[in-house]
Structure formats: structure tokens, C-alpha cells
């Protein structure tokens, strides 16, 4: 069953909101941390309410509002959010104060706003949305499971509008901590990250929401066809084959494979190996040099794929191999730290 994308909102390290042409002037970063280019939140939330919101909540609420506005929806029937790290800033504040103040005289606000479901519940509260409300937090599957949930809901009842998204933030604490695991490499140009494989990637963040429906309206013709996640897959090629067993499209129908390459050679090679066997005639593209590596980076990729389908072309900055095919079906093939692989198949319909 096709699930139509009726609207999208994306706040990312690129200028992905507003009326700018798609990736017209990509932002290049040095170092190993990418930071979102944020809009003026006053356009989306009342200033008094903004003051109480942490950065990730603002990004989530704004991206959700962008998607609903584009879709012309006032209140969705369901709000589904994926976030692996949750509200790190408030978690860090409460944790630090608790230690510094030896467990006394603590302000409850950061604690209240530290739970992962704060983003989805703040959107529900602002929109007075009393419908289904869900938050997934399975590392590299968090966004994909939001999509799967939305698809299940729409299969049962297509006549609904669902807001589904993926949101994760970097904080000073989280970045200095993750650096110690040796997963990032210093880079003079983030846009060149994927030109040479190494042993580290760059840290990213972002907030993406999609307004989805099982019913077509207006000229929306971009659909999420199928989504699947494989934890600890021992035979990645077989897992991808199984996925295509259950979809209406075949391997040869895939015009572009958008790969979640990170710049870490051993992980990237696993993706390339499957792509070269199953999709030898497809164009190949990449996206993590634009948004960085983070658990819900696949949400950025889904936004990008939908924009590519809308425009019918692949900007140079995304292309790894151009097979010069018309663009109708895009497969996002993501990996996150080796044990996580996911597929999101989008098509025009």
C-alpha cells in the first residue's frame, strides 16, 4: 500500500528549509562536528513557549510544523517520533546539577524535559492532538521504526494524517564523550569526507518530520513503498533480497541507491558490496557528508530522496555514480555502526 508524503520539514547542517533551491550552496564544515542551520523559531512557536524549550524540542517542533504547513494539515491523527539520544541537553543539565548540588535543591524542569517522548508530546500539546503518540529509541532504527509504525497505522486506516519523524542533537557533553570512542576524524572539509575512506566519520544532527497519509490528495505523488530494519544481519545481501520479496518493485527498478556511507572504510565497503551485486545498473549516491553521522541520519536521507524524486534530478554533490536513468524509485540503504542496517524504498506513484 502506498503511503503518500504530503509535507516535509527538515532542519539540518544544510539549509534545508525555506524556499532555497535543493542544496544550491552546500555548507562545508571543518573539524568533526556539524551543527544545524536553524530557522527563526518565532515563525513556528509562540515566543513565551519558546523560552521554556530546549534546542532539540525547538528543532523538532519547528520541523513538525513545517511538514504540517506544507501538507495543509492543522492537527494530525498521530505523532510518531524517532530519537536515539533523546533530549541530551536537559539530561546533561539535570545530571550535572544533581552531582554539583549533591542531590539537593534541584530544578525539575530539565528532568521533566529529559525524557525521549518530550519532543512528540510537546507537538501534541501545542496542536492539542489527542491521537496516537509514540516514540522510538532504537539507535540507528529509531526513524525507520517511526515510518514502519506509520505504515501499519495507515494500512489499518488509510484515511489518516500522520506526522512521523527523526530527531537527534549533539551537545558539548555528547560530542566530547563520543570523540573518546575514536569514531570521528578531523576533517578540513566535510564535503570531501567520502572521497577518501578512513577510520573515522563526522558527527551530525538534525530534525526531520514527514506528514504521511494513505490517501492521495492534490499532486502528491511521492510514496514510501516499504521500510525494513536488520539488526545484526549475518547475511546482508540475503536480508536485502528478502526485503524485495515483499515489495512490488524489483532490484532492476531501483534508479538510485542512496547509501549511508560514513567515511569509515570497513562499514562503507559492506554497503558497496551489496549495491554492486544487486543494483549494478543503478545510480549511486551518498548523504552523510551533508548531514553527518547520527542515529536518525536516515531521516535526512528520506527527505533528500523525496526532494530528488520531486525534482527528477540528482545534484552533483549527492552523486557517486550517475547511471543517467530517469528518477522514479530510490532505495535508501543505511548502516549505523555495523550492527544496524536499514532500507527505505521511495517511489513516484
Amino acid at each position: 500500500m502506498p503511503v503518500y508524503i504530503k509535507g516535509m520539514g527538515n532542519i539540518s547542517p544544510q539549509k534545508t528549509w525555506g524556499n532555497d533551491p535543493l542544496l544550491a550552496s552546500p555548507s562545508d564544515y571543518s573539524g568533526n562536528r556539524l551543527t544545524c542551520i536553524e530557522p527563526d523559531y518565532g515563525q513556528f512557536v509562540d515566543v513565551r513557549q519558546l523560552r521554556r524549550m530546549s534546542r532539540i524540542i525547538k528543532m523538532g517542533v519547528a520541523a513538525g510544523t513545517m511538514a504540517l504547513r506544507e501538507a495543509g494539515i492543522i492537527t494530525p491523527d498521530a505523532i510518531i517520533t524517532g530519537t536515539s539520544f533523546g533530549c541530551l541537553e536537559d539530561t546533561g543539565i539535570f545530571l550535572s546539577k544533581m552531582i554539583e548540588n549533591s542531590e539537593s535543591a534541584l530544578n525539575p524542569t530539565p528532568f521533566i524535559q529529559s525524557t525521549h517522548n518530550t519532543i512528540g508530546s510537546q507537538i501534541a500539546l501545542l496542536l492539542q492532538c489527542q491521537g496516537y503518540n509514540q516514540t522510538y529509541t532504537q539507535r540507528g532504527f529509531s526513524f525507520e521504526h517511526s515510518l514502519i509504525d506509520a505504515i501499519l497505522e495507515l494500512k489499518d486506516n488509510p484515511n489518516q494524517n500522520i506526522l512521523a519523524g527523526g530527531v537527534d542533537e549533539i551537545t558539548t557533553h555528547s560530542h566530547s564523550l563520543q570523540k573518546r570512542f575514536g569514531i570521528f576524524r578531523e576533517n578540513s572539509s566535510s564535503l570531501n569526507l567520502l572521497r577518501q575512506a578512513g577510520d573515522g566519520t563526522i558527527n551530525g544532527e538534525g530534525a526531520v518530520y514527514l506528514a504521511l497519509s494513505g490517501e492521495k490528495s492534490g499532486n502528491n505523488n511521492i510514496c514510501v513503498e516499504a521500510v525494513s530494519t536488520f539488526y545484526n544481519s549475518r547475511k546482508l545481501t540475503a536480508s536485502v533480497k528478502d526485503f524485495f520479496e515483499s515489495t512490488s518493485l524489483g532490484y532492476a527498478d531501483v534508479d538510485l541507491v542512496l547509501m549511508g556511507k560514513t567515511g569509515v572504510g570497513k562499514w562503507d565497503r559492506a554497503l558497496e558490496a551489496v549495491a554492486s551485486v544487486l543494483f549494478p545498473k543503478a545510480s549511486l549516491g551518498v548523504f552523510k557528508h551533508l548531514c553527518g553521522e547520527y542515529p536518525t541520519a536516515s531521516a535526512f536521507a528520506t527527505w533528500l530522496a523525496a526532494r530528488l524524486l520531486r525534482e527528477g534530478r540528482i545534484p552533483e554533490i549527492v552523486v557517486e555514480k550517475n547511471a543517467e536513468r530517469p528518477l522514479r524509485n530510490i532505495l535508501i540503504f543505511n548502516s549505523y555502526f555495523e550492527k544496524y542496517h536499514s532500507l527505505v524504498l521511495l517511489r513516484t506513484c
Binding site: 545530571l95 544533581m98 508530546s121 500539546l125 532504537q138 521504526h145 501499519l152 539488526y231
Partner: protein, 398 residues
């Protein structure tokens, strides 16, 4: 989308027992698990009672033959999930098996210790104490222990998380995406949550009294509860004789306040009503309600009001089991689902400890004693959380 989703096995660990039989015994004996914190240092140890599992990590790990550096959330989860899978006798590697766990603290019990050194110097603190911080990490560890790969997921909708995990499992089976799902939740006590709830001033300094007029807040608890859900096909092919099935569930949002429930309990009312509609049951068909019943002024009045709106004065037997276990946050829906299934299997209901006087606004009297040999065909369990998340689930006897 067709076919029933059956419960093939359950497993639980909480302050009132490390297994199903131990838990049942505590209920029969009215034996509460609320007491002093003993396993970590906190300035609140003499003032804030908790429902602690009285087994240190080293011993939990030893009993399970796993690494003792795992987060307590993962250790508790492995214990309960293993019990559920063993009871189900389902061979997880034979089927399309998924694990859906819920947690709100994840590896926080380790992170909060790591942070003491890290705050002084960002290059300090042992990384092994923070590597399992993410909620999803505890689910990975449980999946790896059970030999589940493929579909694993974690839900964090605060204190309603586990019910949503079980509901997602049922939906994935009904849509023929998975055959077997181990679903539930796990949460360990931590200084972070103790201080968080204390800063909100909703922790009782005495053992909690859910649904009593004089209630004065909740006690935190810890533990894990998992169920093994199977499809019709699995049931037929393995000649399983399940005791009950998942008949209805619903997830709504109160959309009233970030932490407080609406006075009329609009989210909880809608969750119960939608779960009943899905189960094609009328309110009178429910024989027992396992209430969310945290013991806070706000929750119990709001939930009680919603129950009264649904039933008037003819409400079924009902109780909050949190006076036994404390509020186990993300695990509570899983633990209480296990209790609900226990009520169906044992044909019993559980007492609401320490209840004396009804809340004047609702005049509701919960079940006061453990009672067995009664007819229990349908049980509803409520779980509500911060952010307005409300979920109800109904289990029905075969």
C-alpha cells in the same frame, strides 16, 4: 490483518519476586516490596522508600552468567525475558522473532557514576560505564542474550512505554511481519530518577497508598516484565496451548500538560474506551482492572475520574499493584501485563495495599485482599506517562 495474537509465556522480576511463582506468593501473602534503598548511595536513603530488587548487579550477572559491567536495566531485562522465553517453549531462532523492549533510564545507573569523573575532566571516567547509556543499548544486550536478530526496537513514552511495546508486537504479528515477539520493558532504579521525581515533589516519604484519600505521592521501583507473543501459525504448528490472548489496546495523548493529567482524565478515558472497542467488549465484560495508580494526588484522581466516567458506580474489581512494587516507570506496563495475565491464569485478583479511605471526589474502593477462585476472563491494564501518553491493554482468557 487477521488472527489472534496469543501470549505463550511471561517473565517478571520486581521488588516482590525474581520469578512468576515468587511474585504470586508475595501477592498471596500481601507482602510488599517497598523498603530502604540498599544498593546505591544517595542522600535520600533514609527518607524516600523504594521498591528495590534486592540483588546486586554482580549477583544478577553471576546468576545469568553474563558480564557484570552491563547496566542494571539490561541485567533485569535479561532475567525476565529469559524466564518468558523459557516458559513459552518457543524456539526463537526457528521463527521471524522480534524483541521490543521499553525503558526510560537505559544505562543511566552507570552514566550517573561516569558523569562524576567526566564533569571534573572530560577525558576522565571509564568509557565502559557510558557505552550502554542509550535506551536501545539495553535492548541490544537482551536481544544478543536471547539470540534474537532482525527486528529489535525500543520504545520510550515515559511510564506508558511497555504497553506500547506489547501493542506494537501484536500489530507486527497481525500484519504478518513477525511470527514471535518478546515484548515488555525494563527499568532500574537510579539516582537520576529518584532526584527527578523528588524535585517534582511527588515522592511519598512513606510506603505509597494508591487511591487512598490520604495518598501522598509515589515510591519508585525497578524491575522488568516480558511476554512472548505468538501468531496463529506458531500456535498451530507448535501445538501450543496458550492461556490467553491480546484482545485490545489503545494509545492516546491527554495533550493537557507536560507532567499533569487532565482533571477529567480525557486521555486515560479515551485509551480505555478505544481498547474496549478494539476488543469488542463492553466495560461490564472486564473482570479486573490493573490501575496505573501511582499514588500521586493528580494521577489517582484523574484516572479514578476516567474509570468512573466509564463505569459509574458499577466498576469491576480493581487495584494498583504499585503499593507492592513501587512505580517501575518504563517497565511498569510490562510488569503489570504479566500480573494481568497471572490474574487470568490463576483466576485471582490482587490487593491494593494500604488503602483505608476512598478519595472523596470519586468514592472508589479498590480490591482489598488477594482473592482466588473467582471468574476472571478479561483484564484491562492502564499505563500513563509524562507527556500525556496514555495506554490501555486488554488480555482475554482462551
Amino acid at each position: 490483518m487477521k488472527g489472534r495474537v496469543y501470549v505463550a509465556g511471561t517473565g517478571v522480576i520486581s521488588a516482590i519476586g525474581n520469578s512468576i511463582p515468587e511474585t504470586l506468593k508475595s501477592f498471596e501473602n500481601h507482602s510488599s516490596g517497598i523498603g530502604k534503598v540498599s544498593l546505591f548511595d544517595t542522600i535520600h536513603e533514609n527518607t524516600l522508600p523504594v521498591g528495590e530488587v534486592k540483588i546486586p548487579n554482580t549477583q544478577l550477572a553471576d546468576n545469568l552468567s553474563v558480564n557484570s559491567s552491563l547496566s542494571r536495566t539490561a541485567l533485569l531485562g535479561i532475567q525476565a525475558a529469559r524466564e518468558a522465553v523459557a516458559a513459552s517453549r518457543v524456539n526463537v531462532s526457528k521463527w521471524r522473532t522480534g524483541l521490543i523492549s521499553a525503558t526510560t533510564v537505559g544505562g543511566m545507573d552507570k552514566t550517573e557514576n561516569f558523569f562524576v569523573d567526566f564533569l571534573k575532566n572530560p577525558s576522565k571516567g571509564r568509557l565502559r560505564n557510558v557505552v550502554h547509556h542509550e535506551c536501545g543499548s539495553s535492548t541490544e544486550l537482551i536481544a544478543d542474550d536471547l539470540g534474537v536478530n532482525g527486528f529489535i526496537s525500543t520504545i520510550n513514552t515515559a511510564c506508558s512505554s511497555s504497553v506500547n511495546a506489547i501493542a506494537l508486537g501484536a500489530r507486527l504479528i497481525r500484519h504478518n511481519i513477525l511470527d514471535v515477539v518478546i515484548a515488555g520493558g525494563t527499568d532500574a532504579l537510579s539516582k537520576f530518577t529518584m532526584n527527578g521525581f523528588n524535585s517534582l515533589m511527588i515522592l511519598d516519604r512513606n510506603p505509597c497508598r494508591p487511591f487512598d484519600a490520604g495518598r501522598n505521592g509515589l515510591n519508585l521501583g525497578e524491575g522488568a516484565g516480558f511476554v512472548v507473543l505468538v501468531s496463529d501459525t506458531v500456535k498451530e504448528e507448535t501445538r501450543l496451548k496458550p492461556s490467553c490472548f491480546v484482545s485490545g489496546y489503545a494509545n492516546t495523548n491527554d495533550a493537557y500538560h507536560q507532567t499533569a493529567s487532565s482533571p477529567e482524565g480525557r486521555g486515560s478515558f479515551a485509551a480505555m474506551q478505544k481498547a474496549l472497542a478494539m476488543a469488542e467488549l463492553s466495560p461490564e465484560n472486564i473482570d479486573y482492572i490493573n490501575l496505573h495508580g501511582t499514588g500521586t494526588l493528580n494521577n489517582d484522581l484523574s484516572e479514578g475520574t476516567a474509570v468512573k466516567r466509564l463505569y459509574g458506580d458499577n466498576y469491576p474489581r480493581l487495584s494498583s499493584t504499585k503499593a507492592f512494587t513501587g512505580h517501575t516507570l518504563g517497565a511498569s506496563g510490562g510488569i503489570e501485563a504479566v500480573f494481568s495475565i497471572m490474574a487470568l491464569e490463576q483466576q485471582c485478583v490482587f490487593p491494593n495495599l494500604r488503602f483505608e479511605t476512598p478519595i472523596p471526589e470519586i468514592d472508589m474502593k479498590p480490591q482489598l485482599s488477594f482473592e482466588s477462585d473467582i471468574k476472571v476472563n478479561h483484564v484491562m491494564s492502564n499505563s500513563f506517562g509524562f507527556g500525556g501518553n496514555c495506554s490501555s491493554i486488554i488480555f482475554s482468557r482462551m
